[in-house]
C-alpha cells in the first residue's frame, strides 16, 4: 500500500499543558476523504489545530508526506501543502472577497499566478464572482463558508482540512457544501473532515474515526461506522 500523506501517532494535545486529546493515531491516504466525527468538545478541532501547527503536540508525532511537522508553525505547514479551514469560517471581515482569496495564496509570490488562481476559483464558485468586490462581512453565512473553503483551496493544498463547515448553515446549504467537498476530493485533493453531523459526513467519507472525550474509540469505512450499533446508538439516535 502507498505511503499515507498524513500520519498522526500517539498524539497528546491540549491547552496550557493539559491534554484534551489522548494517544490519538490516525492515517490519511493520498486522495482519500476521511472524517473525524464526535460530539462537541470531544477534541476534533484540537487534533486539526495540532496537525496544521496552530498548536503543537504535547506528545506524539505528526508526519506529513513522511516528514515530521509537529514543531512547524502554521505559516510553514501551508507551504508544505496543508490547508486548514477553521471552525467559524474566520474570513477577513473587512476585506473584499477578492482580497480574501488572494491572501489564501499568500505563499505564492507570482502576482500573475495568484490572479490566475483567483479566476479559476471564481469559476468553480460562481456565487463568489457576483460578490467579488464585496466586503466579507456583508456575505450570507453560506457564502462566507463557501469563501472560507475557496480561500483554503487557493494555496493548492495536497491536504485540505475542513472544520465544522456545516455549523450555522441551513440544511439545504449543508447538502450543497457536502457536494462541494465531494467535488474537491474527486478533483484530487485529499480531505480530512471534522463534523458533528455524523450521518451526513459518514455517508460521503471513505473512512472515518469516531472520537469520544479525547479518545479515538472506533474507526472504519464510512459504511461500517454507519452500520455500527455503537455509532447508531450514540450519534444517530437509533
Amino acid at each position: 500500500m502507498a505511503e499515507p500523506i498524513l500520519k498522526v501517532s500517539g498524539l497528546y494535545a491540549g491547552y496550557d499543558g493539559i491534554p484534551v486529546v489522548f494517544d490519538a493515531s490516525l492515517e490519511v491516504m493520498p486522495g482519500e476523504l476521511v472524517a473525524i466525527v464526535g460530539a462537541n468538545g470531544a477534541g476534533k478541532s484540537t487534533i486539526m489545530r495540532t496537525i496544521c501547527g496552530l498548536m503543537h503536540p504535547l506528545k506524539g508525532s505528526v508526519l506529513f508526506e513522511g516528514a515530521d511537522i509537529s514543531t512547524l508553525p502554521a505559516n510553514r505547514t501551508v507551504k508544505l501543502g496543508i490547508s486548514y479551514v477553521p471552525e467559524g469560517r474566520r474570513i477577513f471581515a473587512k476585506l473584499s472577497v477578492e482580497q480574501n482569496l488572494a491572501l489564501g495564496a499568500y505563499a505564492e509570490d507570482s502576482k500573475t499566478e495568484v490572479k490566475r488562481r483567483v479566476e479559476e476559483i471564481l469559476q468553480i464558485f460562481p456565487v463568489l464572482r457576483e460578490r467579488a468586490r464585496q466586503i466579507g462581512e456583508t456575505l450570507s453565512g453560506g457564502e462566507q463558508q463557501t469563501l472560507a473553503i475557496a480561500r483554503g483551496l487557493m494555496s493548492r493544498p495536497k491536504l485540505l482540512m475542513l472544520d465544522e463547515m456545516s455549523l450555522g448553515l441551513m440544511p439545504t446549504m449543508v447538502e450543497k457544501m457536502m457536494e462541494t467537498v465531494i467535488g474537491i476530493n474527486k478533483a484530487g485533493t485529499t480531505i480530512l473532515l471534522v463534523e458533528q453531523m455524523v450521518q451526513e459526513t459518514l455517508e460521503i467519507a471513505h473512512r472515518g474515526y469516531v472520537i469520544q472525550s479525547g479518545n479515538i474509540v472506533q474507526s472504519g469505512t464510512g459504511r461500517e461506522l454507519l452500520d455500527s450499533p455503537d455509532v447508531r446508538k450514540a450519534y444517530l439516535g437509533m
Binding site: P73, N75, V78, S83, Y84, A102, L103, Y106, A107
Partner: protein, 305 residues
C-alpha cells in the same frame, strides 16, 4: 491727504486686514503643526491598529530621532533634510529591536504588560539621553531651511514647517497606500483582523508585527529627523509629543490612519487658535478639553469602527 488716505480709513482697513489675515495666519500655523502631529500619530496608530499595543516609548522614539539628526548636524555638518533619512532608518531599527527584545514577549498577555514594558523603555531612553546629553536645550543653527519664510501677501509661511508638513503628508500617504493597496498591506490587515486565520494563509504574523513596529518607528523617526531645523532638542521633548500622538490616535479612532491625520490637524488648529486668541498657556487646555469631549461622546473616536 492725497496718497496717505484718510487716517480713519487707513486704520479701519488695517484692522480688517489684520483680523482676516490673522485668522488665516493662525489657521496656517495650526495646520502645519497639525501635520507634524499627524505624522507622529500615524506611527503610533499603525502599531496600535495591527497589534493592539500602545507604544509608550513613542515620544522617546521621536526624541531619539531628533538627537540623531542634531548630532549628525552638529558633528558632521549634515543638514536635517538629509539626516531625516538616517533618523528614519535608525528609529526603524529601534522599533524592530523594541519588538524583538521586549514587545514580542507581551503579545497575548494582558494589555498592561506591553504598556508597562514600553513605559520602562521610555524611562530608559529618556534617562540615558539625560545622562549622556544633559538636560540642555540644543538648537541647530545654519540649516538649509533655517528661518526662511515665504510671504504670501500679508501671510508668513515658515519654510521649515511647510517642508515638514509636506513630508508628513507624503509619508502618511505612502503608509496608507502600503496598507491598502499592496499584498503586504492586505496581509497586515488580515493579521490585525484575525492573527490565527492570517497564520493559516501562510502569513508569518511575527514578521508582520516586527515590520509594523519598524514602520511605525520610521514614521516618528522621519518626523523627529526634520524637527531640529526649527525646534530645540532636549530629553523631555518627546513626552508632550507622545501624549499628543496618543490623543490623536484615540480621537481619530484607534487604528484609522485617515482618522489620525484628521485628528492631528484638528489638534494643531485648536492649539493654534486657543494659543493665539485665548492665551498661550491655554492651548493644551483646549486640546485636552477637546479630547475629553470627543471620547465622551464618541468612545470609538471620530473614524473608529
Amino acid at each position: 491727504m492725497g496718497a496717505f488716505g484718510s487716517p480713519i480709513h487707513c486704520s479701519q482697513r488695517l484692522l480688517f486686514v489684520h483680523s482676516m489675515e490673522t485668522v488665516l495666519q493662525v489657521l496656517i500655523d495650526g495646520i502645519l503643526s497639525g501635520l507634524l502631529y499627524a505624522l507622529v500619530a500615524a506611527g503610533l496608530c499603525l502599531i496600535w491598529g495591527v497589534m493592539d499595543v500602545i507604544n509608550f516609548a513613542h515620544g522617546e522614539f521621536l526624541m531619539v530621532a531628533m538627537y540623531v539628526s542634531y548630532w549628525l548636524g552638529f558633528l558632521a555638518g549634515v543638514d536635517p533634510l538629509v539626516s531625516v533619512l538616517a533618523a528614519g532608518a535608525f528609529v526603524f531599527l529601534l522599533g524592530v529591536l523594541t519588538y524583538q527584545l521586549i514587545v514580542k514577549y507581551t503579545v497575548g498577555k494582558p494589555p498592561l504588560a506591553a504598556l508597562l514594558a514600553t513605559f520602562g523603555l521610555a524611562m530608559l531612553i529618556k534617562n540615558f539621553c539625560l545622562n549622556r546629553f544633559s538636560p540642555n536645550f540644543r538648537i541647530l543653527s545654519d540649516t538649509w531651511l533655517g528661518d526662511k519664510t515665504y510671504h504670501l501677501g500679508e501671510l508668513i509661511i515658515p519654510i521649515p514647517q511647510l517642508v515638514t508638513g509636506i513630508i508628513a503628508l507624503l509619508v502618511i500617504g505612502l503608509v496608507y497606500a502600503l496598507i491598502n493597496s499592496t499584498r503586504f498591506g492586505w496581509a497586515v490587515q488580515a493579521t490585525a483582523m484575525d492573527k490565527e486565520a492570517a497564520e493559516l494563509m501562510g502569513i508569518n504574523t511575527e514578521r508582520i508585527y516586527l515590520l509594523i513596529f519598524g514602520i511605525g518607528g520610521a514614521c516618528v523617526g522621519i518626523a523627529g529627523g526634520i524637527m531640529p531645523t526649527y525646534l530645540a532638542v532636549h530629553p523631555e521633548v518627546g513626552s508632550l509629543f507622545g501624549l499628543i500622538a496618543f490623543i490623536c490616535v484615540a480621537m481619530g479612532g484607534f487604528g484609522s490612519i485617515p482618522g489620525a491625520l484628521f485628528a492631528g490637524l484638528l489638534v494643531g488648529v485648536v492649539e493654534s487658535f486657543a494659543g493665539f486668541y485665548i492665551a498661550p498657556v491655554f492651548k493644551y487646555v483646549a486640546v485636552f478639553g477637546l479630547y475629553l469631549a470627543v471620547v465622551a461622546f464618541r468612545r470609538k473616536g471620530l473614524f473608529g469602527w
